[in-house]
Symmetry: C2
Subunit: 522 residues, 2 copies
């Protein structure tokens, strides 16, 4: 009858249901979890093979014929040593054989380490990882429906929340500590807050090269020595060595050189904005970003051949009506995914940004903007998806509650990245025969169903799948309210000791540390 | 410096901004709109070519060796005429040459007409269209945060809202008119409400074959005669001819035969539920759905060779912990996209369901569930994406406000389906040279930027892209509240006259019509 013919099957409660619930209560071993870090994104190709070749050809053309301006003397010297040509017009040009030589020889096999080895990432091939990043100057206060200034303690809070969320694989500092006025103290305290909050891989940046030695000192101390850090560097330098379009950034280049010397992997970050600091055409924005990052790759490999560098094509998108950034647009999702694909083309560990929605608050707009961006970036095989958790307002606001919400959405996106396994067992011909010809006419109790419920199906954390009736009985749970409560609980109860008391004391002796010990539960 | 190095460029207000805003105020011709109905989804392949062949092989195996039970006498007779074999075990089996003969000869070139020809859909190749569907028994009352019974007037209201939303391309009846108790009156009034509310293509269903002649009579009258309807049938029959797993549904088959005779295109709808009425393995759920729909295709083509039929593989997903449907899961998004891809493989106009989120209300969960499902279905080339607008609670509740919200999310998804154009102009080498070597160092005023802002960039309707400062100045607009206001305005002001006064009067004379003329602004 027409009332129910398209309605879902609602299965009556049964003994089987309790059995299944109990089965699920047992924790899953990592290798049978339906999702994990490093799933391979291979099913979505935003660019055809021919289009990838066209982009690549244009990139080589731009590097060879237009080049970059404002290179620093050490940058020029380094790049010239590999064959780059510094012109009388002040532009540094990269002949195609120079570029391709570096692409061929660049280090593509490095890991990005966590302090805890279980969080090591291997950004090779089309393996996908999601994490935070950004330089938001506000915290999104969901309870008050307002944006307030971001502080150092918010960075620490974000780090310790991320530590416990399975679908967020690394922690690049997402906010600016506006309560730490001195820029060097800000950089060092930001690093301290990250190190104290998480054992996942950390990304951070430095304002001036002069600050880097002290930062390295801090990292070495936490690692148990320089050698230990260099063996498993657990902090990378997020480095905007270029100010698009096609200009080197002097301070950042100086920072980069210090970080390379100090043994930090570098994220070569090109953050143009289509229609403002990059071409308005999506393809052109990709070309410019790839060209800029490859110039950076030549630079890094000239400084230290084989140094770990991440192909950080991060072009953003403008709303062309106003020129303002639109991080949640479909154009942005496409642009990011195409960049992820280009990194795969060069077989270089690549990172791009996805999920920095335009929505100011964790509302339905935030949901669709993030969800669309996550799956496109992931299914295209973007190795490192930055800005993927917590970010709002086109990078202006970071939301602690959204870490919990985004962790759930990222889980669903990762399920999509994992894709569909097709083999004799999953094709299920025997199961159909069992059920239809000889059996009960449904699959509820079939062995295949029970087996796959753990391996193939992902169950959300906060998202609700209740029937309308159950939803009413449970008091109409609101997902944002649930995230608020979860955040409060974690912040009240989880005080990690990743930096032990002794090291903490030593660091406080050596540096001006602004993060109050009380806030760290000490 | 690190505060701003990853922050977005915020462009100062300028004369150029006003010029761009004015340019955007002019309506766009359809051929330059960045998105439209029928964009081609070609970039996402949930199944590899080899996996598609494996699924196809399994489908033929299932049809040939397991077959379907509970075929009606006329169904058996029809299918036997094409070579199907009715076994002593009561199962109707379809040898592979029978199936492939029908696949080869089936009608794949038909349009799905709107009453207004501008809404005609051409579901060929990988062209993508999104619309409503379902049999929700509740309306989601957003203002009261509750589910209430759905009524006939809600169907009419949904239809007239959809009429004005560009990114929703067809209207299949999404709710059950629970205030119309008599099943025949319910079916006829549902059809009447759809016809009165929209000129987009309509889908509806019928409880019993006996009701079809009167329904056809109503459609013929509205069309201006049977011949006119048959020339451009603007209503298709959504028909659950199969009760998975692999069982024909007698009443629906009888309805199907009447609809075929009457000139209605039929949506051959197989709505199994993985883990309950379909295999728990995603691949197996695809196999069963394709097998069921191909059996239906043989049946339809046996009744009337070349009759327009939509390959309606609509498998749903269970939350295997409880057996309840989970329409918002990543598994569901994958399953739907794989079905869209299989229809493309057979080069048959195909339809599947995406966007029927688990979330009870239009919250962030609804956003990510819908966004992920939309892009996967669209980028895989699903010709007709059903249930894509307004649906909540895994098909249990339909939300009028969400039509406006989903229209925005569907726009972003369609922008992703459109993809990235790569050609000499979009590669932007000349634009880079203009800007970087000879020009101002930014692309804001470049001719390419001004040209592409209309053709390449999609601007949302309700979604906000304000800076946090503007957002505060504007009173912190809430997107759900905006949708509530938009709904109220449309329902108060838009009373379409798609069914003219004379026809309306004639229909009310001939049938028991429950939709009050007052509610229709008459």
């Amino acid at each position: 009858m027409s009332i129910t013919e398209e309605a879902p099957v609602r299965v009556a409660r049964s003994g089987g249901r309790n059995a299944r619930r109990n089965l699920r209560a047992a924790p899953l071993a990592d290798d049978v979890r339906p999702i994990r870090a490093g799933l391979e994104g291979t099913t979505y190709k935003p660019l055809s093979e021919a289009d990838v070749e066209k982009v690549h050809g244009a990139v080589l053309d731009v590097l060879e014929n237009i080049g970059l301006s404002q290179a620093t003397p050490t940058c020029i010297e380094a790049c010239e040593s590999l064959g780059a040509i510094y012109g009388e017009d002040g532009r540094l040009r990269f002949p195609r054989d120079v570029v391709m030589g570096v692409v061929a020889s660049a280090n593509r096999d490095f890991a990005l380490h966590g302090r805890d080895p279980k969080h090591d990432m291997h950004p090779q091939g089309s393996k996908v990882h999601f994490g935070t990043a950004g330089a938001a100057v506000h915290v999104v206060d969901v309870e008050k429906n307002e944006y307030r200034e971001s502080y150092l303690r918010d960075i620490y809070d974000a780090a310790r929340i991320v530590e416990g969320l399975d679908n967020i694989h690394f922690f690049q500092r997402p906010m600016v500590a506006r309560d730490v006025v001195d820029p060097k103290e800000m950089d060092l305290n930001t690093l301290f807050a990250c190190l104290s909050g998480t054992t996942k891989h950390i990304g951070t940046s430095f304002t001036l090269a002069d600050y880097v030695p002290d930062a390295l000192q801090m990292m070495y101390r936490v690692a148990g020595g320089e050698e230990a850090f260099r063996a498993r560097p657990f902090v990378s330098n997020s480095n905007c060595f270029v100010v698009p379009p096609l200009r080197f950034a002097a301070d950042a280049c100086d920072v980069l050189e210090e970080c390379v010397k100090g043994g930090m992997p570098v994220l070569l970050l090109s953050a143009g904005q289509a229609g403002a600091t990059a071409p308005a055409a999506i393809a052109g924005a990709v070309v410019q970003a790839v060209a800029e990052v490859l110039a950076g790759l030549v630079y890094v490999n000239a400084l230290a051949p084989g140094h770990p560098a991440i192909f950080g094509t991060w072009p953003f998108v403008s709303d062309l009506r106003t020129g303002a950034m639109s991080g949640g647009s479909g154009e942005q999702a496409l642009l990011t995914a195409a960049c992820g694909q280009m990194a795969n083309f060069y077989n270089l560990p690549g990172g791009s940004a996805a999920g920095m929605c335009d929505a100011k608050m964790p509302d339905i707009q935030a949901g669709w903007e993030k969800g669309i961006a996550y799956v496109l970036a992931g299914m295209a095989g973007t190795n490192l998806v930055y800005e993927a958790a917590g970010m709002h307002g086109s990078l202006m606001g970071f939301c602690l509650e959204s870490l919990f919400l985004d962790n759930d959405a990222l889980g669903q996106a990762q399920r999509c990245v994992r894709g569909i396994e097709v083999n004799d067992q999953t094709l299920s011909i025997e199961a159909m025969r069992d059920v239809c010809v000889d059996g009960p006419g449904h699959y509820l109790g079939h062995g295949q169903t029970l087996e796959l419920m753990q391996r193939e199906y992902l169950y959300p954390d906060l998202a609700n799948r209740f029937s309308p009736k159950e939803w009413v009985e449970l008091g109409k749970p609101d997902i944002v309210q649930m995230a608020i409560e979860r955040k409060k609980k974690v912040l009240a109860e989880f005080f990690p000791d990743h930096v032990d008391e002794e090291t903490d004391a030593a660091l406080r002796e050596e540096f001006v540390i602004h993060l109050a010990r009380e806030h760290m539960g000490r």
